[in-house]
Amino acid sequence: MNMNCNRFETLLESLERNAPMAAELRSAALQHAESCGQCRARLAAARLLHMELQTLAKEDENLQAPARLEANLLSAFRERSLRPSRVWRSVSWASLAAAVAVGIWLLAEHPWRQAGPSPLVKIQAAQPASLPQIATVKTRIAGKNSIHRRSRPTGSRTAASIADEFIALSSGGSWYPVGDGMVVRVQVPRSAPALVGLPISGGDVSGTVTADVVLGEDGVARAIRFVTPSEGKGRNQNSDFAQN
């Protein structure tokens, strides 16, 4: 078997570690080392280095982290287990952000600001003009992404006709993409349905109603739908809005 210094170099690692290799190959390499002073020195140095590193590894093999570290980490683990999960914390923050966003939108769009002190009359009068023009909403609910595209004619509509739909909350006629948004459930003033063209049940504007708000990635509310108490248990209802 032909053996030269270059070939020997490629086998050096296996030779120094006594790694398994063909007996014929090993024999040829060792014979070469006997006859070549440079390769013999290389092999001896490599074996020495390997042994020295093994000695260091042996010296350090019983090194352990201090016991106090385990105690610290366990207490951190317990503390972490007691805290609400990150998901729930972010949902809580999202709910708060949604409530604030809806509140700001209601204040900005509320006809009371422009008209006199008779809100109910003004709201009802403004109903057709306040209907949003866009109703394309992307929602993410329970980890599933789905895009619901619903085109609705503007104009007169009843509570029943918007049963399953979100109503877009456009700002100044502009519409921004939702992106990877999410839906959160919030409480809004009972007068809020009137601002998107829906009747107020019983004409009473005191108290709050439950609503689902679509938040964009930027935290701005994009769309809203109002839910009844029975929908809170998993089913949409069209007719009336819950008063809380």
Partner: protein, 205 residues
Amino acid sequence: MHIEPNDGDLLRRMAAGDEAAFTTLYKRHQGGIYRFARQMTGGASLAEEVTQEVFLTLMREGRSFNASRGSLRAWLYGVARNCTLRCLQRERPYVAFETEGGEENAAELVVGSCVPEDGLAGLGSRETVEQVRRAVLALPASYREVVVICELHELGYAEAAQILGCPVGTVRSRLYRARELLALRLETLRARPARTVAAAKPCHR
């Protein structure tokens, strides 16, 4: 017959809040992680800091571990490696290189090796071990980590590649170069009187 739960099972239980599972994972891996950090930094306090950060990361991000991309051990070593490099960067302005011409000596290294007369005889002595430790710590970090992982911890090239996030070929070539540097460095250290060698300091390059 008692069967030890595997890392994946323990990780799932830990994510569900099982403290015993976390403790088992910690006991199983802390030694290797601590040793790795200590051999990389040369300091007990930095090694402790790194170990703590690794297991806090496990608590925070253990759910994101993907077993199809490698072992939990490799993942933990990878986190330890990143923490260690950050620590070394942070400490850089405050850690001096070897005194008494340490850097000069590094440049003086002569190509070519020879085994000292007392090389094997002295093997295993405290001084020899400390010389090797100093030589490892003096390697640039990219070579040191591959020596620590492959030589001192005896992990395979494939696992080392997962830890370092590079191809196996890169691990091999770095190890080859690192061993050359190490051999030369050790020659120099052996040639110097022990008293002139300063305390081991990690190389931050």
